[in-house]
């Protein structure tokens, strides 16, 4: 079977100069500097089928971005083999460029003082798109991402969420077979995150685009992907379906309740009260013991709820669960 991505024993070391202390130390460092090797990615192997949506998650500094940059041909691995759509990224970067799309959160490929439409036109030239095919593709994406009203505004006037929608469209214009998304929702508010996640998934389902998504937000993975690889310190901790990860490790949700009444209290299995302030209450809920809807129904019996949010556990907590489970 031909895989979209096949990675075998991928390792990346960075050589960093050891910082010197004091005047004498700096002088010594100038004459004979000492270097340390830092292993960012440690012997990782995995395969991704065409059309699959894979989340590559882990805390900050886990090696996610380094991996994505090696797979897109920006960085060269220290050792190991990488094949993306049958090409070797480091060697065949130009050829690969036509077949992949990339989105890097908090970075921009749009020209700051110009409308996003100008960057789209430029990218059509870069990717040698036929003018008619480009117009059709652009119209389709503009409709799907609902950015028609944004096309004539300079990028500097767009909100982060609006800009990210334009960034994603810019990365999809040439119809890439695989899209690498590096923290695409970082810094976005809840609504903007939700829009971006749904659009990426819809696009992938409609055209069979392979998605490789890195994030430290478990919500990205749950809403977009079917499979998840969890890494930490450059190593794979978990590689399976989202359902299995959820069943095994994501057993808690954090619920924040804002009430009309000053006080609120009730008891339920697996509910742990983290914070109690007048009108505001934060609870940890073990969903396998008491489902979220039951918790909310119970809360409604005791108070009038003005607002509520349900959050996934932090990535660091998921990693802790995985470590703990491995030891047990």
């Amino acid at each position: 079977m031909s895989y979209a991505v096949a990675v075998s024993n991928m390792t990346k070391d960075f050589v960093l100069k050891e910082p010197a202390k004091g005047f004498v130390g700096n002088l010594k460092s100038l004459i004979s500097p000492k270097f340390n090797t830092f292993r960012a990615v440690d012997n990782i192997s995995f395969k991704i089928e065409r059309g699959e949506r894979l989340a590559f998650i882990g805390p900050n500094g886990a090696g996610k971005s380094t991996s994505i940059k090696m797979m897109s041909g920006i960085l060269h691995p220290t050792s190991g083999d990488i094949s993306v759509l049958g090409l070797t990224p480091g060697k065949d970067r130009t050829q690969l460029g036509y077949k992949i799309g990339t989105v890097f959160g908090q970075r921009s490929q749009l020209w700051y003082h110009l409308p996003a439409g100008d960057t789209f036109d430029l990218l059509a030239r870069v990717y040698d798109l036929n003018p008619k095919a480009y117009r059709e593709k652009k119209n389709e994406l503009v409709k799907l991402f609902e950015i028609k009203h944004l096309l004539d505004q300079p990028v500097r006037k767009l909100s982060l969420g609006q800009r990210m929608r334009c960034e994603v469209v810019a990365s999809l214009l040439h119809g890439p077979e695989i899209v690498f998304l590096d923290e695409p929702t970082i810094g976005l508010d809840v609504t903007a995150k939700s829009i971006i996640r749904d659009l990426i998934k819809e696009r992938s389902q409609r055209f069979g685009t392979t998605v490789f998504l890195t994030s430290h937000d478990t919500g990205d993975m749950e809403r977009v992907c079917d499979r998840v690889i969890v890494i930490n310190h450059g190593r794979v901790l978990f590689d399976d379906t989202i359902e299995k990860l959820r069943a095994r490790y994501i057993k808690k949700k954090r619920v924040t309740l804002m009430t009309a009444e000053e006080d609120l209290h009730f008891e339920a299995r697996g509910v742990n009260w983290l914070e109690k302030k007048p009108h505001k209450f934060i609870l940890d809920v073990e969903v396998d013991k008491t489902p979220i809807d039951e918790v909310i129904a119970t809360a409604l019996k005791h108070a009038r709820i003005r607002d509520l949010t349900v959050e996934d556990p932090q990535m660091e907590d998921v990693i802790k669960f995985i470590y703990r489970a491995d030891k047990e």
Partner: protein, 257 residues
């Protein structure tokens, strides 16, 4: 070639929308000419072998190049510092050529605007055109060619950011060499002979002194020398840029992973 020119065109559009910087350069150009015209009037420019009026025009013509060429090294540094280079490296087009052609767009826009500023100010300050007005006309294509070669070397300086993250010290040396060995403010004729010989062996004299002097004096043989030297330095620069780029992308550590 079309796709590369698209980067020049979008850089022109972008530069046009971002007028603040050009206005600042416009004003700076006028101030420089005003200050140095007062200086030459006080000191006297006969010792240099140029009429006072031509001396101001010499400065206006060298500054036209110096104030127009874009600081590509800061753009490359910024791409590396912010990690934006990651976007640009995954495109099916060499990153350095993208930066070079963007730089060309910025250069041409600035040259167009600053020609009005610099030559207008020089005309106003000196009260007339240079002794050989035809030379000024000739200088437009020659000056643009020289600026393009300077922009090429700017791109090479930017590539050192792949190793150093910050290529400013290299640019600082480059700009000071342009200043002294290029004869930015004073024609090289005023230098001792040994320094003139050294300056003529470097690309800097071809960037500024030779094209300006040749056009001001309407000297065909000097103009031919300037064009040949510029072409040779352009070819050397193109080869160097490609080789350094190929080594640099292997060395690159992109921030944020």
């Amino acid at each position: 070639m079309g796709k590369y020119l698209s980067f020049s065109i979008i850089a022109i559009k972008h530069g046009y929308k971002n007028k603040g910087e050009t206005i600042a350069r416009f004003a700076f150009y006028g101030i420089i000419l005003l200050v140095f015209s007062s200086l030459w009037n006080a000191v006297g420019s006969e010792k240099i072998g140029l009429k006072p009026r031509d001396m101001i025009w010499y400065l206006a013509m060298t500054e036209w190049i110096v104030l127009s060429y874009p600081l590509i090294h800061t753009a490359i540094q910024e791409d590396i510092r912010t990690g934006n280079v990651a976007y640009l490296l995954t495109r099916p087009i060499p990153y350095i050529w993208v930066k070079f052609f963007e730089g060309m767009g910025t250069l041409l826009l600035r040259m167009l605007i600053l020609a009005f500023a610099g030559f207008g100010f020089a005309y106003f300050i000196t009260g007339g055109l240079p002794t050989n007005p035809l030379g000024l006309l000739l200088y437009f294509p020659v000056g643009i060619f020289a600026s393009m070669v300077v922009t090429l070397y700017q791109s090479i300086i930017g590539l050192f950011s792949f190793w150093l993250q910050d290529a400013t010290p290299i640019y600082w040396i480059f700009s000071k060499c342009n200043f002294i060995l290029g004869g930015m403010m004073l024609p090289l004729d005023i230098y001792p002979e040994w320094l003139q010989k050294i300056a003529m062996l470097t690309p800097f004299s071809s960037f500024l002194y030779l094209p300006v002097k040749a056009c001001l004096e309407l000297d065909a043989s000097l103009l031919l020398e300037a064009l040949i030297k510029l072409t040779v330095w352009a070819v050397i620069g193109l080869i160097a840029m490609q080789l350094i780029y190929l080594r640099g992308v292997k060395k690159l550590n992109v921030n944020g992973g």
